[in-house]
């Protein structure tokens, strides 16, 4: 018993009460986010363990992700290069990048739906900031993305493609992605805890989005008229702010305007929902 761990007072004074006023709801939601950020180490560990568990006992571990992405990109690349009559040296690097980035977005949207429902045992047995589970989902998906980046780099090396200094312009886009991902997770995570039939709806929306968004086909294939309409597709704007710089192009101003507008709408929606839903999530699970 001599080694017993001494108590750590994680909070000296807390108060839970029916929160009715807007300012109080906002204050509590801010506190939730703050506490969640402070637990970043736990979020990181949880996300990392999620990945480790998926591939525990397999020889390649998480690099199965890399391998399966590589196989899919090369198979699709050769096929679609023929179908779309594209130069393979030009098309394959585009496809590798698009496919990996889209894979990240699609998995993130889909997994944000189960953020709170999969954490039910924890939520029901200990008080934790809900934001912790949002960061966990983000960490997990960023780790998957990091494994898949290997495919992009490999394809770029094989075909001698290099985005140049413009590639750095992808960084602000990636930052926006992270913030949007957390907002989306709080929104969809709570919404899906309340309404259990959202997940299949979200998945079918993402499937349609995959085909109407230039992921496997190039925006230029639409012709000038079509390209002008693309910014109305939020998925296109979000994808393009990161993809265009990595292809060595300057990102279009309209695309950034669109991405910021959609992001602002998302943040507003997510915050409005989370401040109201936060005290109820435990009851919904």
């Amino acid at each position: 018993m001599s080694q017993a761990v001494t108590p750590i007072a994680r909070e000296s004074l807390v108060e839970f009460r029916a929160s009715r006023t807007m300012s109080e709801r906002n204050r509590l939601a801010v506190r939730d986010v703050g506490e969640g950020l402070r637990l970043w180490r736990l979020a990181w560990t949880l996300g990392w363990l999620d990945i480790r568990l998926r591939y525990r006992g397999s020889m390649l571990g998480p690099f199965w992700l890399t391998l399966s992405t590589a196989i899919m990109v090369s198979a699709l690349g050769y096929l679609y290069a023929v179908l779309f009559r594209q130069e393979i040296a030009d098309y394959l690097p585009f496809l590798a990048l698009s496919q990996v980035l889209w894979g990240f977005l699609a998995a993130l949207v889909s997994e944000s739906c189960t953020t709170f429902t999969e954490a039910e045992p924890v939520i029901r047995s200990v008080r934790m900031p809900y934001f912790l589970f949002a960061t966990r989902t983000l960490v997990r998906n960023v780790l998957v993305l990091a494994h898949n980046v290997v495919v992009i780099v490999g394809v770029d090396i094989i075909f001698g493609v290099w985005p140049g200094a413009n590639g750095l312009l992808a960084l602000p886009g990636l930052v926006l992605w992270m913030v949007d991902a957390l907002a989306l997770t709080m929104l969809l995570g709570g919404f899906c805890a309340r309404f259990r039939d959202i997940l299949p709806i979200v998945n079918s929306v993402m499937q349609i989005a995959f085909f109407v968004t230039p992921v496997i086909w190039k925006p230029s294939q639409l012709g000038p008229d079509g390209v002008a309409h693309l910014p109305f597709n939020p998925f296109f704007d979000m994808l393009e702010i990161v993809r265009a710089p990595l292809l060595g192009a300057e990102p279009d101003r309209m695309v950034w305007v669109g991405a910021l507008a959609y992001s602002l709408a998302l943040w507003g929606l997510a915050w409005g929902f989370f401040t109201r839903a936060r005290p109820r999530i435990a009851y919904w699970l």
Partner: protein, 270 residues
């Protein structure tokens, strides 16, 4: 460190009951389109799990919760732990708190024992140097040896219980909330577990224990709250309330009351 305090003022906890209909967005939308959403709102079935509870606990209090199944004991523990925020009223908690509600809290059967220990430490917000001490303490008590690096899934039932128990009792809070599952377990293990649990109970400034085992309540608790259908039916000194609750005089106690020694080594509450 401040003295521990629990203050419950006019707390009600309401559970919305979601039948198949309310859980589905599709049916909500259809109901709204056909103009039935309003009636759905009004007719939503709500279970009043806790109704207008009022009580205060200060440092040195050891409260036993008794009542039949469904009286709201576990819901009250969850509310004190901050998991359910009350629909009406307020709960104030001062001091570090540990709630032993679920034996498998944070235990992932696919992870190794060591990883589970680390996770529990992180859930409790322990800094990194503490994690090593936590691991040493749990490993020593649970006697898992080399199994610590194997997934919990392959442990024997007894090993899982030992690990869960060691984990739950390794972090010592000012306020300890405990559900009755904790007192279940095979006799051989309980003999060993008992002293560790009693040490933890003694170390806590406030204990809230929910159980059907009246013997434990008598030896550990100084005060008893009798819940009935979410309301406080009676609240007072342990022996007095238990006599009412059981409906017959209490037999003489076999073991030494724990509360006496616990309050003896603490300065009186301010």
């Amino acid at each position: 460190m401040n003295r521990a305090l629990i203050s419950v003022e006019g707390v009600s906890v309401l559970f919305p009951l979601y039948h198949g209909n309310a859980r589905s967005l599709k049916k909500m939308v259809v109901a709204a389109a056909s103009g039935r959403l309003g009636s759905d709102q009004r007719h939503r079935v709500v279970v009043e799990a806790l109704r207008e509870l009022d009580f205060q606990l200060v440092s040195g209090d050891r409260l036993g919760l008794v009542g039949s199944n469904g009286a709201g004991k576990t819901t009250l523990l969850r509310t004190l732990a901050g998991i359910y925020e009350p629909a009406i009223g307020r709960v104030r908690i001062q001091g570090s708190l540990n709630a032993l509600l679920d034996p498998s809290l944070g235990m992932n059967l696919e992870l190794t024992g060591r990883e589970n220990i680390m996770l529990r430490g992180l859930y409790n917000g322990l800094p990194r140097p503490m994690l090593a001490r936590l691991e040493a303490d749990v490993a020593e008590f649970a006697e898992l040896g080399d199994f610590l690096d194997l997934p919990v899934r392959i442990y024997s039932a007894g090993m899982v219980v030992r690990l869960g128990f060691a984990l739950a009792t390794a972090i010592k809070p000012q306020i300890l909330l405990m559900d009755e599952w904790f007192l279940a377990g095979d006799a051989a293990f309980m003999a060993k577990a008992r002293s560790r649990l009693e040490e933890m109970v003694r170390g806590a400034e406030i204990l809230v224990l929910s159980t059907h085992a009246t013997d434990i309540v008598r030896s550990w608790c100084t005060r008893v709250l009798w819940l009935d259908q979410g309301r406080i039916h009676a609240d007072g000194p342990a022996d007095e309330i238990l006599t009412q609750y059981l409906g017959h005089p209490l037999p003489p106690l076999e073991s030494e009351p724990l509360g006496e020694s616990a309050t003896a080594d603490q300065p009186p509450a301010a």
